[in-house]
């Protein structure tokens, strides 16, 4: 099994690399007739064979976008997988728990009220204000949900889901209010941002995401066995010597961290946490020790594919990638509902 997993991971990585190259090569901007190796060498050695604007498009537009797609896809898929393992329910996603809503509300407030807050914060934070606020929103929501649903160190899953629903409802209300009172240009900002897109990719964002995701993955990706045990029921897992509560806490906090960062930098890219685990579960059943690491790679694969399609399908403009993922995810969402109709 171990060797098999390694094989799966390796082949997935190879596929991801091929996709990354393809993504880097496709777009509105057409390069002069260079082979891939020539471009690669030209950029690395800086010998003047590559035109500065080609260099800019590759290194400052496409590459950060590819990297950010890989990071965000991975983070969202792993978040979804972890939450589903914890809730023992294929519908548990960051959106359901209200993490996404919390992050969005804070971001929306920042968009509309940003001009009033700006004078009071240092110049350096102006550009990243939105991101920081969304991130805070996600964390705050998660803490709130956790407080509401946890008593004496024990989490009541149903309470947790319902608090998520309540927070999402509040989120929608605040969002609606803000949209109602926002100026035209802010309104455009809000609606655009609500759909989710990787267009704002920069190296700085990729750096922050990489750190957040690196820390989270280091703690989460080895939880597969524990999640498998928790499938039996939390008490049984406890008897097997698995620190259930601590694992749940870690999953909650780290998921909030990752989703907050993703929402901040790319808006709402919906259903990623639903599609990837669903497909993997079709193949591998609910064996989280396999699904969890694979979700990290396959999330990237899906995201990168979706984003490249969104960049190239309607030139010269771009479709928001959130629209595409929603189109992919919604039917799957329906399928899960139909399958689990008896248990609901």
């Amino acid at each position: 099994m171990r060797n098999k997993l390694f094989l799966y991971l390796l082949s997935s990585f190879i596929l991801l690399s091929a996709l990354a190259v393809w993504s880097l090569y496709s777009g509105v901007f057409v390069f002069e007739k260079h082979s891939f190796l020539e471009i690669f060498n030209g950029i690395l050695t800086n010998d003047g064979s590559i035109d500065p604007s080609e260099r800019f498009v590759l290194m400052d537009l496409r590459l950060p976008r590819v990297v950010m797609g890989i990071l965000i896809g991975s983070a969202l898929a792993v978040s979804g997988t972890c939450l589903q393992g914890m809730f023992r329910n294929p519908l548990a996603t960051p959106d359901l728990l209200g993490i996404t809503a919390g992050a969005s509300v804070f971001a929306a407030i920042t968009i509309v009220l940003g001009s009033y807050i700006k004078p009071y914060i240092p110049e350096m934070l102006h550009y990243s204000l939105l991101s920081i606020m969304a991130f805070l929103g996600a964390l705050l929501t998660m803490v709130l949900v956790y407080r509401l649903s946890t008593q004496g160190g024990r989490t009541n899953i149903i309470m947790m889901l319902l608090s998520g629903v309540a927070i999402t409802a509040i989120g929608f209300a605040v969002m609606g209010l803000l949209i109602f009172f926002s100026k035209d240009e802010e309104l455009r900002d809000l609606t655009f941002w609500n759909l989710g897109s990787l267009a704002g990719a920069t190296w700085a964002k990729c750096g922050i995401l990489a750190v957040v995701i690196g820390i989270s993955f280091a703690l989460l990706l080895n939880k597969g066995k524990a999640l498998n045990a928790m499938m039996l029921g939390e008490n049984d897992a406890q008897h097997l010597g698995i620190p259930v509560e601590r694992i749940k806490k870690q999953i909650v906090v780290l998921t909030a961290l990752m989703v907050g960062a993703c929402v901040a930098f790319a808006g709402n890219i919906s259903f990623m946490g639903l599609i990837v685990p669903y497909i993997l579960r079709l193949i591998f059943k609910s064996r989280y020790n396999i699904i969890l690491p694979l979700a990290a790679v396959w999330g990237s694969i899906l995201m990168l594919t979706a984003d490249t399609v969104s960049r190239t399908i309607a030139p010269p403009s771009e479709i928001s990638v959130g629209v595409l993922t929603a189109f992919m995810g919604a039917p799957i969402f329906m399928m899960i509902l139909i399958r689990n109709r008896k248990q609901m």
């Binding site: 390694f6 390796l10 690399s17 003047g48 102006h126 080895n222 597969g224 960049r311």
Partner: protein, 298 residues
């Protein structure tokens, strides 16, 4: 479990090594730099604002515009000759701009996100982002600024003076009519212009006054506020009027029939770009609005 971790780490390291391996190959190609002689005669301009596009065309450089934003609809010919890059605020893609290989990128501060500005700056292509002021002086300054950015040698004074001459023969009203501007995007999305908007400036230039005085910017329209404001005329963009099914649709908006404008069917629609660009046609726009108001007042 630990083994799995190791595998993942190894996989990552391998992956990194594979992608870095090519770095070790250094090529010793001789550095040949072609000096491109930058002549201002044939520029490739991307204009990301309707007013800026108008100025470029007025200065006689329309042929050099290779890319434009969705608001650049005047002169009509530019729609065909330059590529439409979409909405600036809704994420014009920098790559699409670069694909046109521009030598100059022009835009205004109001519609650009800081991110877009930063990326355009980073592209290394000469770019100027203008700060636009919505007044006659502002329009003249924009003409001068764009001319400077283009390296335009000709005389710009005639273009600037035209604004003033257009404004000299306006009809004088005995009592300035109150004009309410409705920004419509379908019947459920109606906003009215308060104070401090480009629309208010053009209304005032036309010798009339804005019906709304008690709030700034755009606010959603309510029937009660409409009746309270009681405008003598209602002004919309052509596109806005279309979205509510024409003049008849405007008259059906709750409350309109109780106002002077509704009773006299004094509904005016004009091209959005003409009204709010504040470019070379600023005088023309004020004059056109003034004449429509005078005609309807009779």
């Amino acid at each position: 479990m630990k083994k799995l971790n190791q595998f993942i780490v190894i996989a990552f390291v391998l992956y990194a090594m594979v992608s870095c391996k090519k770095e070790e190959k250094t090529t010793d190609t001789t550095n040949v730099k072609t000096e491109s002689s930058a002549v201002a005669a044939t520029q490739r301009i991307v204009s990301l604002n309707g007013a800026v596009t108008e100025v470029i065309a007025a200065l006689g450089h329309e042929k050099e515009i290779v890319g434009r934003d969705v608001t650049s609809t005047y002169p009509e010919s530019v729609k065909a000759s330059a590529k439409d890059l979409g909405h600036v605020a809704r994420g014009v893609s920098v790559e699409a701009i670069m694909a046109l290989q521009p030598t100059l990128i022009l835009g205004t501060e109001k519609d650009m996100t800081p991110e877009l500005q930063a990326k355009i700056k980073a592209s290394g292509i000469k770019s100027v982002i203008f700060k636009q002021e919505f007044s006659v002086d502002g329009a003249k300054r924009l003409i001068a600024d764009v001319a400077a950015a283009l390296g335009h040698k000709g005389d710009i004074k005639p273009i600037q003076d035209k604004i003033d001459t257009d404004l000299t023969d306006l009809v004088k009203f005995k009592k300035a009519p109150k004009v309410l501007f409705i920004y419509a995007r379908g019947a459920n999305m109606l906003m009215v212009s308060g104070t401090g908007t480009p629309i208010e400036s053009i209304i005032q230039l036309s010798g009339s006054e804005n019906a709304v005085t008690d709030f700034a910017d755009f606010k959603p329209l309510t029937p009660e506020a409409l009746i309270k404001g009681n405008p003598d005329a209602i002004l919309l963009f052509d596109s806005g009027a279309e979205s509510v099914k024409g003049i008849d649709g405007v008259l059906k908006i709750p409350g309109v029939d109780k106002t002077n404008a509704g009773k006299n069917k004094n509904i005016i629609t004009m091209d959005g770009g003409l009204l709010t660009n504040f470019g070379p046609r600023t005088g023309e726009a004020a004059k056109a609005l003034n004449q429509l108001l005078a005609k309807n007042a009779k």
